[in-house]
Amino acid sequence: MEINPTRRTVLRGAGRAGVLYTLIATGVFKTTAAIAAAWNKTAFDSKDTIGALKGIGANAAADSNDIILKAPTIAENGAVVPVDVVSNIPNTTSISILVEKNPFPLSAHFEFANGALPDVSVRLKFAQTSLVKAVVKADGKFYTVQKEVKVTVGGCGG
């Protein structure tokens, strides 16, 4: 049931959560309540991309063409923007998605184990035209790719 030892990096600074995590990972607990303790408040509450990246342990990330980031060039509606990320980097263990111009850029963070492919699709709110950034962790190193999404008129009546 071990998910992935590098996960602890994510939980650095959250000691109790780390313990809980270990218990979940070893199968002692398997409740959603236990998972909740592992929400990375520092990273999600960060108001800028750099802070959010630090929060997930990514002080530096190299640009990579091996990450496929699919998002519309022009979004039909900023309230629901489909974003797909696929990592072709071997040993990818996590994918984080950030919307740079949102009040809180870190939008979602996923960890993969037991056969899950590093391939996720989500739908995100965009407060305005912004870069969307995917950050991948593989073999303990971070890689990134980004794309601009333009947000179009409408959605607010008027």
Partner: protein
């Protein structure tokens, strides 16, 4: 009270494609209701996907995730009939688990 999720899990070749629709307001805390009162922040913070009893994906989410979230994942090594369980828990401690079988 929480509403059920809609889970679709299908084998495409040797990969199981899992799509999950969740019923959740994902309130940012910045929206005002019709009366002008701020609607309190209320959003899913953690999700996990289990296939055949093993956790395959664990996710953390923030307020940027759209209302009534939609997630898609792919899992190798699963087979038709395997149970898929999806869990979420939000910032108020509300939680929900739903299951489906891979078809």
């Amino acid at each position: 009270m929480t509403d059920p999720m809609k889970i679709r899990a299908q084998m495409k070749g040797d990969v199981a494609e899992v799509r999950v629709l969740m019923s959740h307001p994902m309130e940012t805390g910045q929206r005002k209701d019709a009366a002008g009162n701020a609607v309190p922040v209320h959003f899913i913070q953690n999700i996990s996907i289990e296939v055949g009893g093993k956790v395959v994906v664990e996710g953390q989410t923030g307020t940027s995730v759209s209302r009534n979230p939609v997630f898609g994942f792919k899992v190798k090594g699963a087979k038709v009939g395997d149970k898929v369980a999806v869990n979420w828990i939000d910032n108020k401690g509300d939680k929900r688990t739903d299951e489906a079988s891979i078809t």
